[in-house]
Amino acid sequence: MSQTQQFKTTITSDHKLFDLHLKETLQYRDLIFLFVKRDFTAKYKQTILGPAWALIQPLLTTVVFTIIFGRLAKLTTADAAGDYVIPGFLFYMISNVCWGYFSSTLEATSNTFLANRATMGKVYYPRLVSPISTAFSNLISFVIQLVMFLVIWAFFLIRGGTSIRVSPMLLLIPLLVVQMIILSVGCGIIISAATSKYRDLAMLVGFGLQLWHYACPIAYGLQLVPAKWLGLYMLNPVTPIITTFRYAVFGFGYFNLTYYLISWGVSIVVFVVGLILFSRIERTFMDTI
């Protein structure tokens, strides 16, 4: 019969390594938007304070950090040697806001297949839509928190008495946010691919994130790290993101281009590996999950 007929879609058993459905994912941008909207509305439905919760959580954490690590433990908040006056409250806040985005996105995307199996088992859409929309809906909270931070930051700036100043490094912020997104989504989808068969890793995520938190300069400044360990310490891809973020908003601190580029490199590699693993698993994960 019509052997010559061309077909638009072919489904077969073989899979190419770089068959990532990126173009198709882009076609589903309306769905990404709706998922983001759904996550955001559903999160704050039937709460009195609504999206204000996005502000209250980091605010409380910052207060606790300021009291425990700042006042009681008296850990340094300096990233670089020098005679800077650093407002502890701002220091803990920006670090927590960044880490909050990173850890919540990683945790949520690492759960992609398990959390969405009811929907994914019944209908096809590019599976990558789910982690992407998670990253974006967390980004909304992040932006709200960042705005709150900037308001408080502006207050400190105008009042004076600290060393913070406006610097051109502020322009780095969008780049830092992008890096944060791809690193957290990359780690998350690698774990999601790995947990579609063995759930053990999912148990580790919460604990692992807690450890990772201590391995990043969030509760303390970089000056706390002994100089001989600094090279190793900076290989943690999250560290340069946080220290550079602080440099950007304070106008001083620690910035090393080499470590920063290494961190970018790691982020990209993790993200690409994640995409490849994810697209491998997404085809048949329904059989094993």
Partner: protein, 425 residues
């Protein structure tokens, strides 16, 4: 010839049997080490069958068929025949183990109604949500939302969160979205099994309407033969992962119902037929012969003369008989014996029965036969039953009385007595 919309070529899907995946790494390591030391698998449930590494199960095994534009194909088969697996492969939920599926157009799969509905969102928001999951762009939904709301019959509640909906309203809304999809190929897995009858009919009409007028292709899986009859113009029967029939609807349903064409005039009953659990077994049907005719296809309004051989342990008084007639799995009618009779004791006793076939229209019928008595409390007590007792065919083409062509999907298998009409001046 219309273009091919869907081509399935030698598709197979293999599942591993026994314990795989979905367990913990620790279990896996335990299993591996036990196996190496030649011990029993410590994670296996006691009594469960042990599967060796290579044992697999073919959910689909070399399935091939083509579907052309505008065809409405029903896929039927017993549980485990591979229907749902096939739909899952076509809708890309999981990938095939072998073979290829070629699609020419967008696929909307409705393996479940209301996929992605979120309780906290309103009906309107969920329409957008569900539409987007099924592959519609926001613009398309904007253009159709009024039609969708009208079709769903829940306009009054459209801005209420769906968690406050009744289940019927929920289903109606969900189906309305699916029915308004613009995709060229629609895949449905018994989604119509929900909702009230009126809405079901409305949906079926909507589906066949879009198929006829817009040339949409429909693949529909159901165990409800009536909806298959109403919607489909072709049937594919699957059995154990293979296509066993591909063709006309009624023929396909016949194949699925497990009744070949060659019908017998003599039946001998075995254990397989005596499946009635509550039967006392005081008497037992042994054999049945259809006496009056040497043909297996009967005319309209014939009588069947039947001889039954039975055994009874003692004399049983006031025995009644009960014959249930069904056609392609749907009940058609029931008959009772006119007067109670007494049965003799002993092996190989005889019994005659006459069955009037008036009112039955053309078709392939199955008869289940039960014998029973009313006990001292006036309760019906089944003595024995044979499922099925026998089959017979009625040739529907010989409509001597009236020239109408009988359409059983709308009119059922029974033709009631003609109406008496007269005109007045």
């Amino acid at each position: 010839m219309e273009e091919i919309m869907l081509k399935i070529e030698n598709v197979s899907k293999e599942y591993k049997l026994g314990q795989i995946g979905g367990t913990t790494l620790r279990d896996e390591l335990q299993r591996r080490s036990a196996k190496r030391r030649g011990l029993e698998d410590p994670t296996r449930k006691i009594g469960a069958r042990e599967y060796t590494d290579g044992e697999t199960f073919m959910a689909l095994d070399g399935v091939s068929f083509e579907v052309r534009k505008g065809e409405r194909v029903g896929i039927i088969g017993h549980n485990g025949a591979g229907k749902s697996t096939l739909l899952k492969l076509i809708s890309r939920i999981t990938a095939p183990t072998g073979g290829s599926i070629y699609l020419n157009g967008r696929v909307a799969s409705m393996l479940e109604v209301g996929t992605g509905f979120h309780g906290e969102l309103t009906g309107r928001e969920n329409i957008y949500m569900n539409g987007a999951i099924l592959g519609m762009a926001k613009k398309e939904i904007d253009a159709k939302i009024e039609n969708i709301i009208d079709f769903s019959e829940v306009r009054q509640f459209i801005d209420t969160p769906v968690k406050r909906y009744s289940s019927g309203m929920y289903v109606k809304l969900a189906f309305s979205v699916a029915a308004h999809l613009d995709s060229e190929i629609m895949i449905m897995d018994e989604v119509l099994a929900v909702g009230d009858m009126a809405f079901q009919t409305k949906c079926l009409e909507k589906m066949s309407d879009v198929s006829r007028t817009e040339g949409r292709t429909i693949l529909y899986v159901s165990h409800n033969m009536n909806t298959i009859r109403q919607l489909c113009d072709r049937v594919v029967v699957l059995d154990h992962g293979k296509v066993v029939f591909d063709g006309g609807v009624e023929e396909g349903i016949g194949v699925y119902m497990g009744s070949g064409k060659a019908e017998l005039l003599y039946y001998k009953y075995t254990e397989e037929h005596h499946t009635h659990k509550a039967a006392t077994g005081e008497m037992g049907f042994n054999e049945l012969t259809i006496l009056n005719t040497d043909k297996t296809v009967h005319e309209l309004n014939e009588d069947l003369d039947i001889q039954i051989r039975y055994s009874a342990k003692q004399i049983i008084k006031n025995v009644m008989f009960h014959a249930r007639i069904s056609c392609n799995g749907s009940p058609v009618g029931t008959m009772f014996s006119d007067t109670p009779i007494d049965l003799n004791a002993g092996e190989n006793q005889q019994l005659r029965m006459k069955i009037h076939l008036n009112h039955l229209m053309g078709g392939h019928y199955r008869v289940d036969l039960l014998s029973f008595v009313y006990n001292e409390y006036g309760k019906r007590q089944v003595l024995d039953a044979v499922f099925p007792a026998f089959f017979f065919d009625i040739d529907g083409s010989t409509t001597k009385e009236s020239p109408v062509v009988w359409t059983p999907q709308y009119w059922s298998q029974i033709r009631l007595d003609d109406m008496e009409t007269c005109s007045f001046e």
